[in-house]
Symmetry: C2
Subunit: 360 residues, 2 copies
């Protein structure tokens, strides 16, 4: 019986040749992404088995006992959301003896591309990414096509069918906004760190990050449900850690028609808003109500403590890492899209609308 | 004239042979660490110049236009101190076209070793580390001896002479504690996340992290200066994000001789202490005063806002990255040990000691 060549030297091309399919098709099957027919999938997997193909360095290293590494590219490592998610990833990876190396995109797609290029050149065994933009993903498609297992954290990409773990962003924003509309608020501002070039004009397809878009849609759903018109005009971009953030929040609060309630897209934005509300001499919740995404440390120690959308951040990281590790071990099931539920923790930062109080 | 071999193939061994010194000596000179005589240094540098030795991949990539990468190993990426320092590092690196890849030790020396092993295997061009332990540094010595430029962030190692950037920890703790002693406090607790196996007993050599040790020494200096006896017994280890942190802080506050003032070693510890003080129904600053290291976001939005030791965290990261980049470009000056000054931001969390108030 003829022995197949050494397993470590078997490539995707070898498998493709043996299965009589294109390299791209073989890569899709072996990388566990994209759609192929059942027959083709079976042929490729049979060829891989016959040649003892090991999908990557890690699978190989697992037999030799050497440990592998995965690369993680997050949007902003200073945002406690991401650093907590990274702990979830690291804990799950450690259980499989896998090291995590991290890079930060600062929500810039060019930096994301550069980070991915570096991590791929360093031959990580798999990648977890929170894509900065859903409009520019050629570099991510390339990773997936190379056969390097890729998973997405917190942000889905409709056009890239890989393992993805997100939260129920749209529903969470809907529920949070409902708390405000039910307290009689009709002037509700939505404040996000996301940048938008030009005006929003209610055109959601201009928003390039899925989690940002989903939350805005949920916010608009709740406003519409409560009969609030023109809520699109109350969406404010560019808050957070950017230089123009103070200008954004102050413009919002100094406006004669200032909102009586604000929903903040993350805890970094919310802290900016909280400080600006104080600086304007306004009181929470008497003058203005506040809810934020992410149960950050500080939200429970302010006076008043802040109502939050509590996302299962640690579990989100743990889950995406477990999916990736499964791929590294050769799992070839179709990609999973997991949506985790959030819950709202009601604290003391929401009051009745002052409009409703003065107009009985 | 005989041309030297291609620059890219020149190794430390080639330089050593040409300079007629040992490989270790040549590595010390070329890596810019350790002590060698002026004559030997000159000989090695002359040999390196004659051979057109380029100290590493990056220097080479700089001529070819490819970008390099540095590895950064921090103690706890969830601590805002480290994530802000990493931003300083990343900004400085980006200016030189260098990518940063990160790993987290979780303050565990075994995880630190593993992270360094991975980053070295990935052939980073240089390393920045916040050593988890000053007692176990063989792996760091090895990095330095390999000729890979290494710099230390936030924590100095007396036995490893490489570029190091720290803050004036001892003096900062002295000044912060003095604010408390001058307000009449005599029962002052110092709370740190550092772990200590067994009892401290005032034996500072048992503390394995330089910044932790220096701060404790500064705290003890100020207590001694104020005539406070047995201050060693008021140092509490293991707070912060550990599982036993609530037990540590509550044991401290439930004690009949509980402190009237607390100095926290970082903002993660301080937040735990702040929450515990609230849970015990104590008031800041009437019942208990609080000062913490690190001007974290939340410290200015609590009621009352917290007095902090403001460390130049961003500058610390920027500075250590600049030193490392200089080495990557071939700088061979002796290692620098830079100590950056801190300042205290006085807010509303320090009051007169209740002991002093009741005993006129």
């Amino acid at each position: 019986m003829k022995r197949p060549p050494k397993a470590s030297s078997i490539t995707v091309s070898d498998v493709a040749r043996q299965a009589k399919v294109s390299k791209a098709t073989a890569a899709r099957v072996l990388g566990g992404y994209g759609r192929v027919s059942k027959t083709v999938r079976a042929a490729v997997l049979e060829a891989a088995k016959a040649l003892d193909y090991r999908p990557n360095e890690l699978a190989r290293s697992m037999t030799t006992g050497r440990s592998g590494s995965i690369g993680v590219v997050v949007g902003d490592i200073e945002n406690p959301f991401f650093s907590l998610a990274v702990r979830g990833i690291s804990d799950a990876a450690r259980l499989s003896g896998i090291n995590v190396i991290l890079a930060n995109s600062g929500e810039q797609v060019e930096a994301e591309k550069s980070a991915i290029r570096v991590l791929m050149a360093k031959q990580v065994d798999g990648l977890i990414v929170t894509p900065a933009q859903s409009g520019e993903i050629a570099h991510l498609v390339e990773v997936a096509q190379s056969g390097c297992p890729l998973a997405l954290l917190d942000r889905a990409l409709p056009d890239l069918d890989v393992d993805t773990v997100t939260v129920d962003d749209r529903d969470a924003a809907l529920r949070a906004t409902r708390i405000l509309t039910r307290a009689g608020h009709t002037r509700i501002g939505y404040v996000t760190a996301a940048e938008l070039s030009g005006d929003f004009c209610g055109n959601e397809s201009r928003i390039n990050t899925s989690s940002v878009r989903e939350r805005i849609l949920g916010f608009l759903d709740a406003c519409r449900e409560a009969g609030i018109e023109g809520a699109e005009r109350n969406i404010h971009f560019g808050a957070g850690r950017s230089d123009r953030s103070p200008a954004v929040t102050h413009a919002l609060l100094d406006h004669p028609e200032r909102p009586t309630a604000i929903l903040a897209s993350d805890s970094v934005v919310a802290l900016e808003v909280f400080k600006a509300i104080r600086e304007c001499g306004l009181r929470i919740p008497q003058d203005i109500s506040l809810i934020t995404f992410h149960d950050a440390d500080w939200t429970s120690v302010t006076t008043p403590p802040i109502t939050v959308v509590d996302q299962p951040v640690y579990a989100l990281g743990k889950c995406v890492a477990e999916l990736l590790v499964r791929r590294l071990k050769g799992d070839d099931r179709p990609p999973e899209r997991i949506v985790m539920p959030t819950r709202i923790i009601e604290r003391m930062s929401v009051g009745q609308s002052p409009d409703r109080q003065t107009v009985p």
